[in-house]
Symmetry: C2
Subunit: 299 residues, 2 copies
Amino acid sequence: MKLIPIALFAGVLLAASANAADAPPAGPPPQAWRSVDPANLVLIDTKYGEVAVELAPQFAPRHVARMRALIGAHFYDGQSFYRVVDGFVAQGGVGEDTASTKIRDAKLEKEWPKLKAEFDRPVGNDVAFTPLGNPDSFAPEVGHVNGFPVGRDPADKRMWIIHCPGTFAFARDNDNDSATTEFYIVIGEAPRRLDRNLTAFGRVIEGMQYIQKLERGDPDVDNGVIQDKAKRDPIIRMRLASDVPAKDRPAFQVLRTDSAFFAQVKDKRRHPAPEFYHRPPLANLDVCAVPVMVKRTGK
Amino acid sequence: MKLIPIALFAGVLLAASANAADAPPAGPPPQAWRSVDPANLVLIDTKYGEVAVELAPQFAPRHVARMRALIGAHFYDGQSFYRVVDGFVAQGGVGEDTASTKIRDAKLEKEWPKLKAEFDRPVGNDVAFTPLGNPDSFAPEVGHVNGFPVGRDPADKRMWIIHCPGTFAFARDNDNDSATTEFYIVIGEAPRRLDRNLTAFGRVIEGMQYIQKLERGDPDVDNGVIQDKAKRDPIIRMRLASDVPAKDRPAFQVLRTDSAFFAQVKDKRRHPAPEFYHRPPLANLDVCAVPVMVKRTGK
């Protein structure tokens, strides 16, 4: 068995060979973990498995409040991932009861008025930004806040969640202030051109493999909307963990990205196992390719 | 319906709104297409659908010859994607008949001797390198050769295929010159640290959505090897298109990345639809996020 090394638990890169004595994965210390607030934990039931998303109210309070309200109203239950473009996004939440798109959109917007955009927010002391430590091709500065990949611009003192695989965001029309109910999840190479052009307000912390299993649309037909409704994979149910009785409640911890342990993880990525990597890679990291460890601590 | 725009056929970014008059996708002219040589076209049957891979003998002739020989010997038929790490790689071709890994590896290496690495090749006039046109964080220069994402170093005059989603490569042990039979396909954000450290010699040109559906392993257990063999998704069959009777043969054309049309595609990506993108993204492109169009022209 030949293994391309992956960064594991310990931030230790396991050696490639099955014969090599792999370093035992030593976990991060307890203080390096942060518990996810159940009010920010969205659980999406798909037929492939449960997907967990952490919301980031500190970046987009209006969009987070809307998502909680939609979930509370059971808006998404029984809908589908109706637009899935391989290598790009999986999208749902259009509402699918009415025949006409125009009537449906008008009705939706009456119940769920268009939201003012929250593409970015001021840099502030309420959130700890940890710089990645190398330049990025798409933003003046990149790093992490509470596990979220974040861009920052020292010129206008704004910061925003970056579109990486797993980023959770609201879709909109041409009008910046037009998000209502539809969300998308990034499923491919980071589409960084979307940064600061849409409101990203969460990220998948578990279950990306289930999102990757979703039936795709044809990107050349109707923007990837799956034409055969029967083929669309259902959103069986969306819940907020805080609405789940405590004894049944899934719970997660996320590695603190302002911890010394996360600094080690990045350092190991920059300088991976020399017994395998005979040519050391350039020490630059892609902010979307640094793993932020997550562990399930309940249910 | 709210749509985040995607770059479509024409290299035209469709506007976001369902109400907007979308520009009709005008296809590339005939001379902008290149037919894939059937001797370089690998067809992988999975239970989700057929995956097409184009091989690049101009980058790694020994590894391509080995792949053709393995396919000719039906080596892969009935094996499985036994190691699948979400966001990283799907791997197969270990041979799964013998109980002991050591015996199996030794037997395999007798039949299929270790290959000398082909991590990179000299820059040369036999291949047309089209620069992407902006800096990259991981290589001195990046661009395309025949649709493949390629890095280039003017200092040592070497070039190599970059690890993007869909890149097809041989796995190895710690020894650089140790690839035998195992291949992997990149399924997540480009793991650029692998560039020039493994032999990449092809890319998926159709069917990535089927690879994305593959059952995953747990990255924290045995490097992502799926422990329950019954859960591993089979490699039903691997064929070379040139071995398929002409009348049944799948055929593809790939957009010439040295064409004026591809220059337009990149330009559109750099300057996407202003009616949607009120904040123009930085004009830098990710070499792994530029779509290289492919069309099926047979079967």
